[in-house]
């Protein structure tokens, strides 16, 4: 049995939109299993790539993690795709082989890591896919798009948590060829499609100068199938809103002006991104999944008090360029002030929570 099926029922009525009144919350176990991204009291970009091997009983146990929000996130994805067709899912024509690669990777991983929810039965190229959480039982021919109701990548990722960007290797760089990105943080898939590694990272401050981009690209180009790597990234979002694309900026940016020292605990969400990268076997493409977790500052204080202290210190000392880039200069001070009331200054462990001796959530 797995950690998730023992502890958490899957919630079905959650929403990530103002129209749905943001009906979203985490269970205590849901918070304590998060891939908390602050190993130190100070935060700065780094070459934080490590082998993606199972670690602990939380979000890093499976190749592709699912949690209590799985069903509502799939519903949200379907809603976003129908609200804005051609904006959140795009694939260049020559990416079809990589799409099948990705479908296989997701389905095999889910079936292996969560056999109580998913079953993949292969008879040559005749495949049967059972997803009991969404009530799906489909048969199709692997490699034959006519046997699926939509692109293989769209079909698979509509049933997956997190977003997926697929890149092809060309001229010694990685070029974005397809994406399912209904939860993207402040960029445009349509605009970024066809861009190379240095181009789509163009807006990020410091990365280039620190030499991180060069080293990261060299590292990724050497990746082999079966040896995934992962990194974590984070930002802040006002309200539990998953869809924060550049396209809809006018809808969600005004929320940034609504935060104050009183409501920051409820309003401000830490947005954790777990990014496990894989080389795909047939197409030689690379998939960059972004599994996004939302947790309010108040939930951290309540269920993971040591993590709340850590994020207080990391935010208080954060480089102003990163504050600007991540888009929270307007409420940075309010969030730090609110968190300061929950930090007694006690020393905290260093290292990611899934590392030996790393920082644990605290409390109990």
């Amino acid at each position: 049995m797995t950690a998730i099926s023992e502890s958490a029922a899957f919630k079905t009525g959650e929403t990530y939109t103002p129209e749905g009144k943001y009906q979203f919350r985490n269970s205590p176990e849901g918070v304590r299993r998060l891939p908390f991204p602050f190993p130190d009291d100070d935060y700065m970009y780094s070459m934080n790539l490590e082998p993606h091997v199972p670690a602990g009983n939380g979000a890093l146990r499976a190749a592709f993690d699912i949690d209590e929000h799985y069903v509502s996130e799939c519903t949200h994805r379907a809603q976003m795709l129908s609200d804005m067709p051609g904006v959140h899912y795009l694939a260049l024509p020559h990416m079809l082989e990589a799409q099948w690669d990705l479908l296989e990777l997701i389905f095999e991983s889910y079936a292996r890591d969560f056999p109580e929810h998913f079953t993949l039965t292969k008879n040559g190229n005749e495949w049967r896919w059972q997803n009991r959480l969404l009530g799906i039982d489909d048969s199709f021919t692997f490699g034959d798009p006519a046997t699926l109701p939509m692109d293989p990548m769209e079909y698979a990722t509509r049933q997956a948590q997190g977003e997926f960007v697929v890149l092809e290797e060309k001229d010694n760089t990685l070029v974005i060829g397809a994406g399912m990105t209904t939860q993207r943080a402040d960029y445009s898939l349509k605009f970024n499609l066809g861009m190379s590694f240095f181009e789509f990272h163009g807006p990020v401050p410091k990365l280039h100068e620190m030499g991180i981009l060069d080293r990261a690209l060299k590292f990724l180009l050497r990746m082999k199938p079966g040896h995934p790597v992962r990194r974590v990234n984070w930002s802040l979002t006002v309200n539990p809103r998953l869809e924060t694309s550049v396209e809809t900026l006018p809808e969600w940016a005004p929320d940034r002006a609504t935060v104050n020292g009183e409501n920051a605990g409820e309003k401000v969400y830490l947005r954790i991104e777990l990014q496990p990268l894989h080389r795909l076997p047939r197409s030689n493409a690379i998939v960059f999944p972004v599994r996004t977790y939302l947790v309010s500052l108040a939930e951290l204080v309540e269920y993971a008090p040591d993590w709340a202290k850590r994020i207080h210190r990391a935010l208080a000392s954060l480089d102003p360029e990163l504050v600007d880039y991540k888009g929270f200069h307007r409420y940075h001070a309010a969030a730090v002030e609110w968190l300061s009331r929950h930090d007694d200054g006690a020393p905290l462990a260093t290292g990611y929570p899934w590392a030996p001796e790393g920082i644990q959530p605290g409390g109990n």
């Binding site: 605009f191 970024n192 181009e199 807006p203 900026l249 940034r256 002006a257």
Partner: protein
């Protein structure tokens, strides 16, 4: 969100004859005519005889090099009244192009970008194309909110003709869309506008 100092803007070349080419296609616009003249001067008579020139006389700055271009003994010189016509002309030529064709593009960023879209659609590689920027750096801007393309944008902030939002032009450039990105300038607090400035045109 970063507005200036983004590193995705294309880096341009200087047009010189590509020795590996069997057929040469040189497309230019407005003040790009000057770079075409320099390119043709550097060619051997054999290269000239294998060269087709496409020239659009549309110009933001009023530069016209047609008379100079007519002095060269090229295979063909096709003249177009607008940049859009020249890009369609390029499309038609590439549709019949053979292996060994080399492409030279020069003019505004918008002209080079839209011509590159056509070249890419025919599978031309970056090492088969040279691009030289000429004239002003007026920008082609894609509105992230309504998808409208605005040509010849000269200021950091302008009103989108598609959705009438105040857009701020980011230095972020997409080769596939051949455009810079425009996003709502006063998105956090409506009416609170950043300072406008002339773009580095």
């Amino acid at each position: 969100m970063l507005i200036t100092g983004i590193k995705s803007r294309p880096v341009y070349d200087e047009l010189t004859p590509m020795a590996s080419g069997l057929i040469h296609l040189a497309a230019g616009q407005g003040s790009g005519g000057k770079a075409l003249v320099r390119l043709l001067r550097a060619m051997t008579p054999e290269q000239l005889a294998a060269t087709t020139v496409l020239y659009s006389t549309e110009s933001f700055t009023g530069q016209n090099y047609l008379i100079d271009l007519q002095q060269f003994k090229v295979r063909d010189l096709a003249v177009f009244p607008t940049n859009a016509d020249a890009v369609s002309g390029l499309d038609a030529y590439l549709a019949t192009a053979k292996m060994g064709t080399r492409l030279y593009l020069t003019g505004s960023e918008g002209f080079i970008g839209t011509s590159m879209q056509v070249a890419t659609s025919y599978g031309m590689n970056r090492d088969e194309v040279l691009r030289e920027h000429a004239g002003s750096f007026v920008r082609r801007v894609w509105c992230a909110h309504c998808g409208h393309y605005s040509e010849n944008v000269t200021h950091r902030i302008f009103v989108c003709p598609g959705c009438e939002l105040n857009l701020i032009v980011r230095d972020h450039y997409s080769g596939r869309l051949a455009a810079f990105q425009g996003v709502k300038a006063d998105s956090e607090v409506p009416g609170e506008m950043p300072e406008n400035e002339e773009l580095d045109t």
